[in-house]
């Protein structure tokens, strides 16, 4: 028990020297007590007085000397402080310990009493546990946000652990505990392996139980599909259950519905507090104030605000929650008070339709909304042989080429959509056309794919269709009773969509509907989806957003082999590509607007934002039980990991308090000595 209360900090020799101090003070006091001589008329009365007090003269003398007592008290406090007394919240057990330290965005919340933010508090607690390691223990530190990161492998050195612990920095990323657990589970028992011996799995090394301390605010979903195995988890909650926060949870730009030539910015703010709030949001372009609006938010609700951008030039857009609103709401997390969007040059994607004549398709591609996205050009299949087409197709001039019942000799450098025909690629060459199915019945379609969003295809009448067998890596989008009718497959950095059935067929020189799809509402919706997905993705803003840490893919405006990406803080990264692939940028840890420079000129911008409601709702998970706002457990697989009582496993040290007391004693001694105060 005493081991828990005290920590030895001195060697036996140092202790013997330290313990010699009080007797030395006593000896000095009695031997070398400096008394001021003073002449008096007679010592007669004084002697009589002293005699009465000298019953136990030794102790009497001690009692009379408050200075001596203060000195002894001072030394006693110092010695006691050297013993480092304290309480241990949790007994650190086991030989192997893994500390999982959450450094996601929500850990920057400034709602802990003993440190700057939750991460600092977590580090403090981990340091407290590291102090309890003894020579037989080894520990490891893993920091985790979206991805886990081994800060320090297993080691018994407290110094190394402490040093590496300090290197953990706050990130802007969301939390993913599962990945961290997988890493911890793998590293906890690195020697564990199985041998296939006569078909029986044998564990070569017995798994060693490893204590796992998770320091987090619990802003993540319960972890499913993970077996803790040899991990013995403890959850240390950080933060408070009533911490308030205001967050920008979405920020994007789009064309104005009424005036398509104008753009507008949409900001969604969410109130993660227990009270209603009035929030003022300010939008800036390249640091210049554009507009500000106010929204009244009910507790826990969101509100959207739109800001007309008119004909604003390209630049970096910033949406910020006003400082006064933040103060009024006692906002504790800074990172989500600002959101970013890159405002790019507004260009329509060029779309080429190669058709013998397809009025319904042309009509669907020429609606007002489609016109905002795509600049449609129509040629006949005969045009495929012209030099102009060949040049444009190979230079990537078009964002999308639609081949209506025709096919080019060579695939263009663009997305393609084949209607009733197949790309001239080996992978797509399935059944020959003569095997066309009559009256195929649509039985299922991929509703999750952006091309088929809000597209209703049930009970669709089709006269005749080819079955589309996508190549490897492709996905069937519409399934019939006989096989897929539509599929999509990637090709280099492009995607090819094949629709098995034509919409209009020509029989005896007259156009006839091969399907009645064009009479249904889902038809224009599908084509609008197609344009949005395959064309708008290039020109629109939706694709120019990423979460911190998430890689972003982009295609340059011009055909350049390398581009430079400039981060919000000004750091430049040069990206190169081989062939006609897209560029992929990984280093998106920093929230803000990233700029892509092609030949020294900013060609486009993309934004990295933490739009994560889990991270922004910084209230510590509260218990749903009737007992009140207790701290709930987290669930890992089928195990409930209960929060540590009091949430503080770290050792509570008393030595600082003792030294402060010693200082007070020292001051009292000075006062007594100088002011001649007698008690």
């Amino acid at each position: 028990m005493l081991d828990g209360l005290f920590r030895n900090t001195l060697s036996p020799l140092q202790w013997s020297l330290m313990l010699a101090i009080p007797p030395a003070i006593l000896a000095l006091y009695f031997l070398k007590l400096k008394r001021m001589p003073i002449e008096v008329p007679s010592t007669y009365l004084w002697r009589k007085s002293i005699e009465d007090l000298r019953v136990n003269s030794f102790w009497q003398r001690l009692r009379q000397s408050i200075l001596l007592l203060l000195q002894l008290l001072l030394v006693a406090l110092a010695i006691f402080a050297l013993l480092r007394p304290g309480w241990e919240g949790t007994e650190l057990g086991g030989e192997r310990i893994i500390f999982l330290v959450d450094n996601s965005a929500s850990m920057g919340t400034e709602d802990v009493a003993d440190a700057k933010d939750r991460l600092a508090s977590a580090k403090k607690k981990v340091a407290g546990l590291i102090d309890q390691l003894d020579s037989s223990m080894s520990a490891m530190i893993i920091a985790f946000a979206d991805t886990p990161h081994v800060v320090q492998q297993f080691t018994g050195s407290q110094g190394v652990l402490r040093e590496r612990l300090e290197s953990i920095e706050l990130t802007s990323q969301p939390t993913n505990l599962l990945e961290a657990l997988k890493l911890a589970g793998g590293l906890a028992n690195p020697g564990q392996m199985t041998l296939q011996d006569s078909g029986v799995e044998v564990e070569v090394i017995e798994p060693v139980t490893t204590s796992l301390y998770i320091f987090s605010d619990g802003r993540f979903e319960d972890v499913e599909g993970f077996d803790l195995g040899g991990l013995d988890p403890s959850y240390v909650p950080l933060g408070s259950t009533d911490t308030a926060n205001l967050a920008v949870t979405a920020f994007s730009t789009r064309r104005n519905e009424v005036r398509p030539e104008e753009r507008e910015a949409f900001v969604q703010v969410t109130n993660f507090t227990e009270a209603d709030q009035d929030v003022v949001v300010e939008v800036q372009l390249d640091g210049q104030f554009l507009d500000a609006k106010q929204a009244s938010l009910e507790a826990g609700k969101s509100a959207s605000l739109s800001f007309p951008l008119a004909d604003a030039p390209p630049g970096r857009l910033t949406a910020t929650i006003d400082a006064e609103s933040l103060t009024a709401a006692s906002d504790r997390l800074k990172i989500d008070n600002e959101a970013y969007a890159g405002l790019n040059r507004q260009e329509q994607g060029k779309v080429l339709l190669v058709t013998q004549g397809n009025k319904v398709l042309e009509a669907a591609l020429s609606t007002e909304r489609a016109g905002r996205i795509a600049d449609l050009t129509v040629i006949t299949p005969a045009g495929l042989d012209t030099e102009e087409y060949k040049r444009d197709a190979q230079s990537g001039e078009y964002a999308l080429i639609i081949y209506d019942v025709c096919a080019p000799a060579e695939m263009p450098r663009s997305h393609t959509l084949f209607i009733g025909s197949r790309p001239p690629l080996a992978g797509w060459q399935g059944k020959p056309e003569v095997d066309a199915e009559r009256f195929p019945q649509v039985i299922d379609w991929n509703r999750a794919h952006p091309l088929l969003a809000y597209v209703e295809l049930s009970d669709l009448w089709i006269y005749e269709s080819q079955l589309v067998d996508p190549p490897q890596g492709g996905t069937a989008l519409i399934d019939s009773s006989n096989g897929p009718l539509m599929a999509i497959a990637p090709r280099d950095s492009y995607e090819d969509v094949v629709l098995g059935f034509p919409i209009i067929v020509y029989r005896d020189g007259s156009a006839m509907g091969n399907t009645r799809w064009f009479r249904r509402r889902s038809f224009p919706t599908f084509w609008l989806n197609t344009l949005s997905y395959l064309v708008g993705q290039l020109a629109g803003d939706a694709a120019n957003q990423a979460e911190p840490g998430e890689p972003i893919e982009f295609r340059p405006v011009t055909n350049v082999p390398e581009v430079v990406v400039r981060s919000p803080s000004g750091a430049k990264t040069t990206l190169t590509r081989s062939g006609d692939t897209t560029f992929q940028f990984q280093d998106t840890a920093e929230p803000g607007v990233y700029e892509v420079l092609e030949r020294g000129q900013v060609s486009k911008r993309f934004a990295v934002n933490l739009f994560d409601r889990q991270e922004s709702d910084v209230r510590l998970r509260a218990s749903q039980q009737e007992a009140g706002p207790g701290i709930d457990s987290i669930r890992i697989g089928y195990t409930d990991v209960t929060a540590e009582a009091g949430g503080a496993p770290a050792r509570k040290e008393l030595w600082q308090l003792l030294l402060a007391l010693a200082l007070v004693v020292l001051m009292a001694e000075w006062y007594v000595c100088n002011r001649r105060v007698y008690i």
Binding site: M36, V40, P41, S42, K48
Partner: protein, 296 residues
């Protein structure tokens, strides 16, 4: 710096003191006729009392008229006017040299005041310093004209390094067999105790007044810290660490000391007066001593 004679007895104090006279509680025979009305019944013209004749009485004082009427020998007593032997003993031990004003200085002022009263009333005034040497032995002073001489003598009194209270009193008693009023002014700070000295005086059958002079520093010591108290008389030392309990104990000891002296005196018919050196002399004389009966 010795105090000058005029400082010892300021004129305004003199005028206050002229109205007073020394009082003795015992009957003494004066050697010369004085101006006071003695308690001794004797040969004077002022009738005092009668008493029965006892053999050996002076037959000349028998009231023969009464004998004729009553057939009894009755003596007629008259009040005798006589002078008083008034001795002032000043303790000049080194311990008296403490205080502000020093206890010795205060004692000299008191002695001057008392002596003045005596001289004005034609008493025989003797002022003696209790020291080992005989240099301070006082002549007998009498009459108003001797005031200046008395003050001169008082002003020359210095603390005596070898002063011992009992030794001094003993020498005084051996030299002066006569009766009278003895006022002893002392701080009673004698390691051997004050009791022998007072016992000598008691044996002398004189009317003893003890004025116990203490300085303010002794009554309420203003000392702090770890001190080595050195006795000015015998260089004895006491090491103390001043604390509230010690100060409290000291005050208790002092109170017990003064109470002890007072009890000792009252048991033996001596008058005890405790005087603080901060108390003005005129106030002490006119109020305090009058109440205690030394002057009236």
């Amino acid at each position: 710096m010795p105090i000058s004679p005029p400082e010892l007895l300021p004129p305004d104090l003199m005028s206050q003191l002229e109205r007073l006279e020394l009082v003795t509680r015992k009957v003494f025979r004066g050697r010369m006729k004085g101006e006071r009305r003695s308690k001794r019944k004797g040969e004077s013209v002022e009738f005092a009392d009668y008493r029965n004749y006892t053999p050996g009485d002076d037959l000349r004082r028998v009231d023969w008229n009464l004998y004729a009427r009553l057939d009894k020998l009755i003596l007629k007593l008259f009040l005798e006017e006589e002078d008083l032997h008034f001795y002032t003993l000043i303790d000049a031990s080194p311990s008296m040299a403490f205080g502000e004003p020093t206890k010795l200085e205060y004692a000299k002022r008191l002695a001057a005041a008392l002596g003045f009263i005596g001289l004005v009333k034609s008493d025989r005034v003797v002022i003696e310093t209790l020291g080992q040497g005989l240099r301070d032995r006082s002549p007998v002073l009498r009459g108003r004209k001797s005031v200046w001489r008395m003050l001169e003598q008082l002003s020359q009194i210095e603390p005596d390094q070898d002063g011992s209270l009992s030794e001094g009193v003993k020498r005084f008693c051996l030299r002066n067999a006569g009766k009278g009023v003895v006022v002893l002014i002392s701080d009673l700070m004698d390691k051997q105790g004050y009791e022998p000295a007072l016992k000598y005086l008691m044996a002398q059958r004189v009317d003893v007044y003890l004025i116990h002079v203490l300085s303010q520093e002794e009554i309420d010591p203003d000392v702090t810290g770890d001190l080595r108290l050195v006795d000015c008389e015998d260089q004895d030392f006491a090491e103390i660490t001043v604390s509230a309990p010690l100060l409290s104990r000291y005050k208790q000891t002092l109170a017990a000391f003064t109470a002890g002296a007072q009890e000792f005196c009252s048991k033996r018919g001596m008058a005890y007066l405790l005087a603080n050196n901060q108390m003005p002399v005129n106030e002490l004389m006119t109020n305090y001593m009058r109440r205690r009966g030394l002057v009236r």
